[in-house]
């Protein structure tokens, strides 16, 4: 048997009879399986993909370089309805994505204050202004009736998507 000698500070050694024999190398990984984290981040590529500030930062930068997209007190200690609010958020984002076709420049910011919901959207100047007002009136009324609470929409227009960097 080959003498067992550990590498010490060197890299982990592989155990085998001899290094010359053509045998199967049973590669033993001595660490726990740990996949790379892929959630909510844009992989660095050749540098031709424009990303906004929101997309460019990974989720561990929340509260450091980023803010939250949805602000409510449901996740605080002693507060409830966090799950219902999350489902509402999903619905609101899908609704706005469909109602303003091709106009949303970035993710919505949803703020909840007492019983009101304020949707802050960054929109591109794709539609003439009176069409924006039509859609604003329509979505505010429909969502207010749907959720039984005042829903307000605040728009901010930008000429094109605001690029932070190219990844």
């Amino acid at each position: 048997m080959v003498a067992l000698y550990c590498g010490g500070g060197l890299r982990p050694l592989m155990l085998s009879w001899s290094r010359d024999l053509p045998c199967i190398w049973h590669a033993l990984h001595t660490s726990v399986v740990c996949f790379k984290n892929r959630v909510a981040r844009v992989r660095v590529d050749k540098g031709n993909k424009p990303v906004t500030y929101e997309e460019a930062h990974a989720p561990h930068y929340i509260a450091h370089r980023k803010g939250w997209l949805s602000l409510h007190t449901g996740n605080l200690d002693g507060e409830d309805h966090a799950a219902e609010l999350t489902v509402e958020d999903v619905f609101l984002r899908k609704f706005m994505l469909g109602t303003f076709p091709g106009c949303l420049a970035d993710q919505l910011i949803l703020k909840r204050w007492a019983n009101q919901v304020e949707i802050c959207a960054l929109v591109l100047r794709q539609l003439p202004a009176h069409k924006f007002y039509f859609l604003v009136g329509y979505s505010e009324t429909l969502l207010s009736h749907f959720y039984n609470c005042p829903v307000r929409l605040h728009l901010q227009t930008v000429p094109s998507k605001v690029v932070y960097k190219y990844m």
Binding site: S139, T141, H145
Partner: protein, 563 residues
């Protein structure tokens, strides 16, 4: 100390006469140090002088505050932001309107979006049933427009009346009568109410929009010839009372009629311009020894005044007869009675002046507080034709002296026409003091809400600003310009021309590039008279070469850019 402070609060809110110097400062009287109302720099001194005298300070036992008193106090420290667009618009440069046409179209677009959403909600009410609001918010629930009860019964009739379905309710009523069941008096009366209110026609879906436009066009027509306006009104209002229509038929079929039935019929006839029939119905009511209520009397007064082919004195005597009958039947007149009388007196031209003053004195004697509509009718009566050479009356000064500092509450649908007519009179009299007084009245308390819809507000402010350009020093005018435009109204090209002429008179022609830049924003670049005025003034202005060349070249290049 708190009571003295509260007494001071009450004194200020009663509205002291704002001193001249402070008022002249105009918008810049609103310094951060002045707390409650603008231009009140002199007020604390007066207060100190008064309370140091022999005034008794009464300390109340307990003072109850409104729930929102703190919020109101905080709100009183914040004044209007002169750089912001009206709150109904989204706060974004692309979405802020730059002309009155745009602002009108944006607001209409928003409203039509809301109507589209309401249409969807009311078509599919089963998806909008979630009711988690505590307390319940009724306006956020879907409305039901289809009647639920199907069988022929009185309850079905009542339901259709409540849903305002004219034709369906008349059909059910006829079917009930054919089946032989008697319909109760209240139900028949409510059916008559519905028919008389809508003039035997189905209420159309854009009923509200139509009414608003028609009343506006009527107003403009009234400014012109009386005869023309009558024809125009007859053409546009559309709904006339035809003989032998449903209401009359049902009225004839009723076995027993009470006072309410007669009153409804009279009011419906007057609303839809069947005046002689209304008066004959009234004689029928008297023959049956019934009493009419005050609203019916108001309609009858209107009917008497609008009957054609009668002289003014005759009509006035008829109105006086009606009033005497009202007293005999023990019916107390209300504010609407007097306002209706004054409105009808407007048609009598010069003859109506004396009766109007008598009516006004009577109203004060009875103790009814006049509303802004009363003053509006009086102004319209006395200043009907804008010819100051005829020796116009001074009644506007008396009116303003009386109502300065008062806050009004809405009591009459015509209340919002006062400020427009008052400013029109100020403008025709060329009196700036009076205009400042009217504007001060607009700013007291909650009177802002009486300025009326967009066209009226624009008229008021353009007349006010034109008067300022004409009569006020140029520095104050420019401060008002920054204050009012564009946050309150969008200027017409005529307003800008007036401002340019004021600059010309005051020899401040270096402001022209600034004015030109502003007028480009408001979309007036295509107005030829404005362009001509600017070019003429610029050509006249002799700048010294070293200072003025840059301004001159900028201005000329700007003007050249449009040619």
């Amino acid at each position: 100390m708190a009571s003295v402070a509260s007494a001071r609060w009450l004194r200020v809110s009663c509205g002291l006469c704002v001193p001249l110097t402070a008022r002249r400062a105009g918008p810049c009287g609103r310094t951060p140090s002045s707390r409650f109302y603008s231009g009140s720099a002199a007020v604390p001194k007066d207060e100190g002088a008064d309370t140091a005298g022999t005034e008794e300070v009464v300390i109340p036992k307990k003072k109850t505050w409104d729930k929102v008193a703190v919020l109101q106090a905080l709100a009183s420290t914040v004044h209007r932001d002169t750089t912001a667009a009206p709150y109904a618009f989204q706060d974004d440069p692309y979405l802020i309107p730059t002309s009155s046409v745009e602002s009108h179209s944006f607001l209409l677009a928003k409203k039509s979006g809301e109507n589209a959403a309401k249409f969807i909600i009311n078509s599919y009410p089963k998806y909008f049933q979630k009711d988690i609001a505590e307390p319940h918010i009724p306006c956020l629930m879907p409305e039901y427009f289809e009647p639920q009860i199907e069988e022929i019964s009185e309850a079905a009739l009542q339901e259709r009346i409540k849903l305002k379905k004219v034709k369906a309710s008349v059909d059910i009523f006829d079917q009930l009568l054919q089946a032989g069941t008697t319909v109760s008096l209240e139900t028949t009366n409510s059916l008559l109410d519905l028919l008389c209110y809508y003039g035997n026609q189905e209420p159309s879906t854009n009923y509200n929009f139509q009414q608003h436009e028609q009343t506006e066009e009527l107003e403009e027509a009234e400014e012109g010839d009386n005869m023309k306006s009558k024809k125009k009104a007859g053409h546009q209002l559309g709904v006339t009372w035809r003989a032998r229509n449903h209401a009359e038929r049902i009225f004839a079929l009723m076995p027993e009629k009470n006072a309410h039935s007669y009153c409804t019929m009279i009011r419906g006839m007057v609303k839809h311009r069947a005046h002689t029939q209304a008066l004959s119905m009234y004689t029928e009511l008297l023959n049956n020894r019934l009493r009419a209520d005050v609203h019916t009397f108001n309609s009858l007064i209107e009917a008497t005044a609008l009957v054609v082919n009668a002289k003014f004195e005759e009509k006035w005597n008829n109105i006086l007869d009606l009033l005497k009958q009202m007293v005999a039947q023990n019916v107390k007149p209300n504010l609407q009675t007097f306002n209706t009388i004054l409105k009808c007196l407007r048609r009598f031209y010069a003859f109506g002046k004396l009766p109007a003053l008598q009516t006004f004195r009577e109203m004060k004697a009875i103790g009814i507080e006049p509303s802004l509509a009363t003053y509006h009718h009086i102004i319209q009566l006395f200043y009907q034709h804008e010819s100051p050479s005829k020796g116009s009356s001074l009644i506007i000064y008396d009116i303003m002296d009386e109502i300065t500092g008062k806050t009004f509450s809405p009591k009459d649908p015509d209340d919002d026409m006062f400020f427009q007519s008052a400013m029109r009179v100020c403008s025709s009299l060329r009196d700036l003091e009076l205009a400042y007084q009217v504007h001060g009245l607009l700013n007291t308390g909650d009177n802002r809400k009486f300025i009326g819809p967009d066209p009226r507000r624009n008229f008021y402010y353009s007349k006010f600003f034109s008067l300022l350009c004409l009569m006020e020093q140029i520095d104050v005018t420019l401060k008002w310009y920054k204050d009012l435009i564009p946050s309150v109204f969008f200027p017409h090209s005529q307003t800008l021309i007036d401002l340019l002429q004021a600059l010309d008179v005051a020899n401040r022609l270096e402001m022209i590039p600034q004015i030109w830049k502003d007028s480009k924003e408001y979309g007036h670049t295509f107005r030829s008279d404005l362009k001509e005025e600017i070019l003429m003034l610029m050509a006249r202005d002799q700048h010294p070469p070293e200072r003025g060349s840059s301004a001159d070249s900028r201005g000329l290049s700007a003007a050249g850019g449009i040619c």
